[in-house]
Amino acid sequence: MRLLTLKLTQFKNYTSQGLQLAPRINCFVGKNGMGKTNLLDAIYYLCMCKSQQSLSDAHLTLHGEAFFRLEGHFYKNQKRYRIVAKVQARKRKVIECNDVAYPKLIDHIGLLPVVMIVPDDTRLATEGSEDRRRFLNNTLSQLDPRYLRDLVQYNRLLKQRNAALKQMGAERRFDAALLATYDEQLLAPATYLHQQRAAFQTQLVPALQAHYAAISGGQEQVSCTYRSALSESNLADLLVAAREKDRILQRTTVGIHRDDLLFQIGEYPLKKYASQGQLKSFVLALKLAQYAILRGEKKESPLLLLDDIFDKLDPSRVRQLIELLIEQEFGQVFITDTDEHRLASILNQFTVDYRKFRVAQGQIIDAAPDEKAQ
């Protein structure tokens, strides 16, 4: 699978820009704030119907304009897919595939698998459980349409249940029948999501360990454990047991929205015991494991978007990563870097074609002809 052309209109700091992309490695180079990451985000948007940076659509529109448009021509299994995103203020956003708009955006997710690696990924190890659940959801949604459908349903029911608890609190009454209705509706999606997450963890651990060993070269063993209240008991019993607590706190205190992944190094929690270098290697290994699992399940190489990792990783790790990307037959890769010579000097150590785009002020000022390394 690959992206042939990309066109941005009033997206972030781009007024209008078209790009012809190389089949293997594409490098976007330029100073910070010039719009390199925005190109990656545009590609991500065409695959996932939203920004990787969790920005609202209004914030993705060029300042002062009312809409943005993205167009990408993809090639997959001998078929062309022309994906267009039309996003306009106060209107329903439209994603089209070969001129037909999806009735529901979620129907598009999974067609074009993508993994984006950003400096901010260390949050996965250092921040709260929400980032780790988002990682689970991102991967499983691309693998399984039912997972995404059930997740949307679960989240909507949860929001309604929490609003109902708030309303009951404000009106000083308790509607047990309504809560019981939500509890029963939550059961089926929660059970499915839990099963899929548990199954994913058993796939994730060996992939994580293999990639960690390859990147760090270290001897320490890493692991990850899926933790969920649903592993101990079924949701119906848990919700009944938590009902009094929920009533007082006016929100749902138990369910798969509280799940977490625990990361370990040796026998210890990663966040407390890992060095900065180990932590970065772990998170990178986690994302590469995600890539490997997506590739294995979809029988297709996802697009790989690497944002600014060269500023955050030391040169030997970067070299190892590039080697991995080239030798393990990753599909199409998009890399941003502030230093074009650093990137070129590493790429030139391998036999690989790449295309370099110089980015300045929301414009591609120069798309160099493909460089052939010796």
């Binding site: 109902a164 009106e171 509607d175 029948a177 309504l178 509706q185 059961l187 089926a188």
Partner: protein, 204 residues
């Protein structure tokens, strides 16, 4: 737009305040009225005023009505023991268009959605339960949008009615294009009411 007359300007903005009517269309409508006899405009205004002042809500089914009971509730040819539960007035109109249903109706006034501030007490649920006993209802057809909130509403009602001697059925879900009954084309909607299925809660 520049108006020579304040009166015209006010009439235009009155029309333009209606959904789907822009300034240009509004002006065309006003000029059209101007080109006709004055009585036509009087009748037009009178129809709106009469409607707004005298319209009632049917005491039995909550439909819009000229009297205490609406046309449907008063009609002796309607099957009185079959009840179709809908969200709003437009759903009744859509189902009546199909001419496939001969029972009566009950308007809930929406679906349960605490996010939008609509709780169970905000809907016509108590009057529904009261009616089932009073009118000896034998079958209830739930014609509610196939959304998560619609599901919650049907599920909640079926729990409330669990100890009553009443058969609950739903129209085939997914029949409505765009999520609302009024968009369903007449043929599929009519067919789905005839081919309604007994309601079974999930997991049963």
């Amino acid at each position: 737009m520049n108006f020579s007359s304040k009166l015209i300007e006010e009439a235009v903005s009155a029309f333009a305040s209606l959904p789907g009517i822009g300034k240009k269309t509004a002006l065309r409508l006003v000029l059209h009225l101007m080109s006709q006899e004055r009585e036509i405009t009087d009748q037009f205004a009178e129809a709106l005023t009469q409607m707004r002042h005298n319209i009632k809500t049917c005491q039995r089914c909550h439909n819009l009505s000229d009297d205490v009971l609406c046309n449907i509730c008063r009609d002796p040819r309607r099957e009185p023991h079959t009840l179709c539960v809908v969200e709003g007035v437009r759903d009744i109109m859509a189902i009546e268009e199909t001419a496939q249903y001969r029972g009566t109706y009950h308007i809930l006034g929406g679906v349960i959605s605490p996010i939008e501030g609509i709780g169970t007490a905000d809907l016509n649920i108590d009057s529904l339960i009261q009616r089932i006993a009073e009118d000896q209802i034998k079958e209830i057809i739930m014609a509610i949008s196939p959304t998560i909130e619609g599901d919650t509403t049907i599920f909640f009602l079926s729990k409330k009615l669990a100890d009553q001697e009443v058969k609950i059925s739903t129209i085939a879900r997914g029949v409505s294009f765009g999520g609302e009954l009024e968009y369903a084309d007449e043929l599929t909607l009519g067919r789905s009411i005839v081919a309604r299925v007994p309601y079974r809660a999930k997991g049963e």
